[in-house]
């Protein structure tokens, strides 16, 4: 029988310690339910939103916040004076099932501090996933955080029960990591990523011939990069992300603006603002790579290694490449329409579908959801467009910047002094 008060106390501690991990997505899973409990919905469902506006789709907790390591950026680090707690296997299973049955969550995101040693910790996490699948007949989403330096066999076993595996790189550069997490090096993170990648590929191949081959981490793997704890540039971060997508075949890279919660001379002081705008720009850059056909080195020039905080990276690219505009909305290929500032991927597809039967005007594309106040400087339509002249104006950026960041004005006004 579960002790209510103790479980309540543990949940508060171990949810609080897990909250800095931003990856929460439950998408990409396809798990059929044959008479049991739960299924993974392909697009994932955010069941609630925290008061800081982040999606909550999974029960995100640490198995334990006891840790033998001492990474400077982590609240669970061994030298930090915090209350420690650890769930039992049964408690995590009961929480997951009971939250799931009430439709609070899409599944479990389990991570942990390293207690005893990496293998021991990893085994306990696997035990929970296994119990959920085999004893509770649970088909909801399970995301396990791989423990750095855990044995490859354990990682392989974890992938049989989990929908997604992840290991957080946290600090984007090897030198930054060496400074802040002396017990770890980048290889500790990259090696398991390679194991997972190879296993996914191998089992996928095998499935082609042997249908009963088990699925291995069907939703792929992801990682998180902390932004602003060390002095890396956006260019370095984007390059790391690009490598993760291209070489390690990761599904997602998450960016987490560093929240200073610990007193440490190696880190920004407590009270330093969270770099939310920078984090947002990195997510936009990431989207450009994943959905808009941009290459990493198109997003930032060699000579300017930081993303522009005033305008989004797509607009910044367009302003640097004005010679490629204007484009004709009626005839330009989809790839170029996707590159027009103010035209998102949904409206781009609508435009391409609609223009087959109609000669499009600015009014048409405005109604289809494009931000015409930005797009109008970059496109030719079937009517006279007086704004086209301004494509060469040097103050075009100024005009667009004032018109476009209203959405983030609030965030910006709080942080501007830091960046100017």
């Amino acid at each position: 029988m579960i002790n209510h008060d103790r479980l309540q106390n543990k949940l508060t501690i171990l949810a609080d310690a897990a909250k800095y991990d931003v990856s929460c997505s439950s998408s990409g899973g396809k798990r059929d339910n044959k008479g049991g409990l739960g299924n993974a919905s392909k697009s994932g469902i955010c069941h609630t939103y925290t008061e800081d506006g982040r999606c909550v789709s999974l029960l995100k907790i640490l198995l334990s916040n006891h840790c033998i390591y001492d990474c400077a950026y982590c609240v669970s680090r061994s030298s930090n004076d915090v209350e420690r707690a650890a769930f039992t296997v049964e408690e995590v299973v009961a929480l997951t099932i009971n939250f799931y049955r009430r439709n609070y969550i899409e599944g479990l995101f389990l991570s942990s501090g390293i207690f005893k040693n990496p293998d021991h910790t990893m085994s306990r996490m696997i035990l929970i996933a296994k119990k959920l699948r085999e004893e509770e007949n649970f088909h909801g989403y399970i995301h396990l955080k791989t423990i750095p330096k855990a044995a490859p066999e354990l990682i392989r076993e974890a992938g049989l029960y989990a929908d997604r595996l992840s290991i957080n790189m946290e600090i984007p550069t090897p030198s930054g990591l060496a400074k802040l997490a002396p017990e770890k090096d980048h290889q500790d993170m990259i090696a398991p990523m390679k194991t997972v990648r190879d296993e996914i590929v191998a089992l996928k191949d095998m499935r082609k011939t042997i249908k009963s081959t088990p699925k291995f981490a069907p939703a792929g793997q992801s990682t998180q990069l902390i932004v602003g704890a060390t002095a890396e540039t956006d260019r370095q971060i984007i390059d790391v992300a690009n490598n993760c997508y291209k070489k390690l075949q990761l599904k997602r890279v998450y960016y987490s603006g560093y929240v200073p919660v610990l007193e440490d001379s190696r880190l920004p002081a407590i009270g330093t603002a969270v770099p939310q705008v920078r984090e947002h720009r990195l997510y936009q850059a990431d989207w450009l790579m994943r959905f808009y056909g941009f290459q990493a080195d198109e997003i930032l020039d060699r000579q300017s290694p930081f993303l522009d905080l005033d305008i989004d990276p797509k607009l910044a690219w367009a302003l640097r490449h004005r010679h490629q505009f204007p484009i004709h909305i009626q005839y330009a290929p989809l790839e170029m329409i996707l590159r027009v500032p103010g035209i998102g991927s949904k409206s781009a597809h609508k435009i391409v579908a609609a223009r087959r039967n109609e000669r499009l005007t600015l009014e048409h594309i405005r109604k289809m959801g494009a931000a015409v106040n930005r797009a109008k400087y970059f496109i030719i339509t079937n009517e006279h467009n007086p704004h086209l002249h301004q494509l060469d104006d040097l103050d075009l950026k100024q005009r667009l910047a004032t018109g476009s960041h209203s959405k983030y004005k609030q965030a910006l006004s709080g942080q501007m002094p830091l960046f100017t």
């Binding site: 309540q8 949940l11 339910n33 008479g35 739960g38 008061e51 800081d52």
Partner: protein, 267 residues
């Protein structure tokens, strides 16, 4: 330009009968501005207005024609848009039907430059968003008899559309989702789903249902979890409300500020 209004009883069959009449009386002409609306819509002094009686036979004929035009998938798309609740609804739907018939057999649902087609696509999007939100914002509470119950109040009548989703997800638990605005519920009994009127439920004593002994405990845990995952340094109430509009809070467990006391006594 003549203004003609066809009024019907407000049912979907009524709307389809009106469409039939529009074609039968040759009201689909460029010199007529034709509107179809239900009898509750405000009157227009300057338009000629006709009250029609609903004819299931005529409705059927129109429906078969639309099926042939759009196929099953197109019909489903159209029906989603038809769930959108507003006074211009029927006129826009008529516009879509006219445009489809005029361009048959070409598929017209991507003609976003056409106003009615674009409006329909926006309505479908709104309805789908509401469906998505209702998959997220249902909060079941376990009753003493083991049935998981949830009240909701969606903007559009989407419960029948999302019931299959819940039946798949919670295949091994009996559940009931009640639309408090429209006064009916969907009930799943481990094999199939049925629609029940809410007064029927009252008779069966649903409201007196006691909650399961563990229920308040898990509600409390969920509230604790909700609080513990917030990062105060990143507070952003505007974004929070944008994602989770206030009108949904009433039925969200995590937004109930006075958690029910934990009772440990077993019934």
């Amino acid at each position: 330009m003549k203004d003609v209004i066809l009024r019907h009883d407000g049912s979907f069959d009524g709307f389809l009968s009106a469409v039939f009449t529009a074609y039968e009386r040759k009201l689909i002409k460029s010199d007529i501005r034709l509107r179809i609306t239900n009898t509750n819509a405000p009157a227009d002094l300057f338009a000629r207005s006709f009250e029609l009686t609903t004819d299931p036979e005529k409705a059927q004929r129109v429906w078969r024609r639309l099926h042939a035009l759009w196929g099953a998938e197109g019909v489903r798309y159209f029906l989603k848009g038809a769930l959108y609740d507003c006074t211009e609804r029927d006129t826009v739907l008529l516009g879509v039907i006219r445009h489809s018939i005029a361009n048959a057999p070409r598929s017209v649902f991507t003609d976003y430059a056409h106003d009615d087609i674009l409006t329909l696509s926006q309505w479908v999007k709104s309805v789908q968003r509401e469906m998505h939100r209702m998959k997220a914002f249902v909060r079941f509470a376990k009753a003493a008899d083991g049935i998981y119950c949830a009240p909701v109040a969606p903007d559009f009548d989407v419960l029948p559309l999302i019931a299959p989703f819940f039946a798949r997800r919670y295949a091994d638990q009996r559940w009931l989702i009640a639309d408090m605005r429209r006064q009916y519920a969907v009930y799943y009994d481990l094999t199939s789903t049925t629609l029940l009127a809410l007064d029927e439920l009252a008779i069966q004593g649903w409201e007196q249902q006691n909650v399961d002994a563990e229920e308040p405990f898990y509600q409390r845990l969920w509230q604790d979890y909700f609080r513990a995952t917030n990062i105060a340094e990143r507070a952003n109430r505007r974004l929070h409300i944008q994602h989770m509009p206030l009108r949904y809070w009433r039925y969200l467990t995590e937004k109930q500020h006075a958690p029910k006391p934990i009772t440990t006594e077993k019934k």
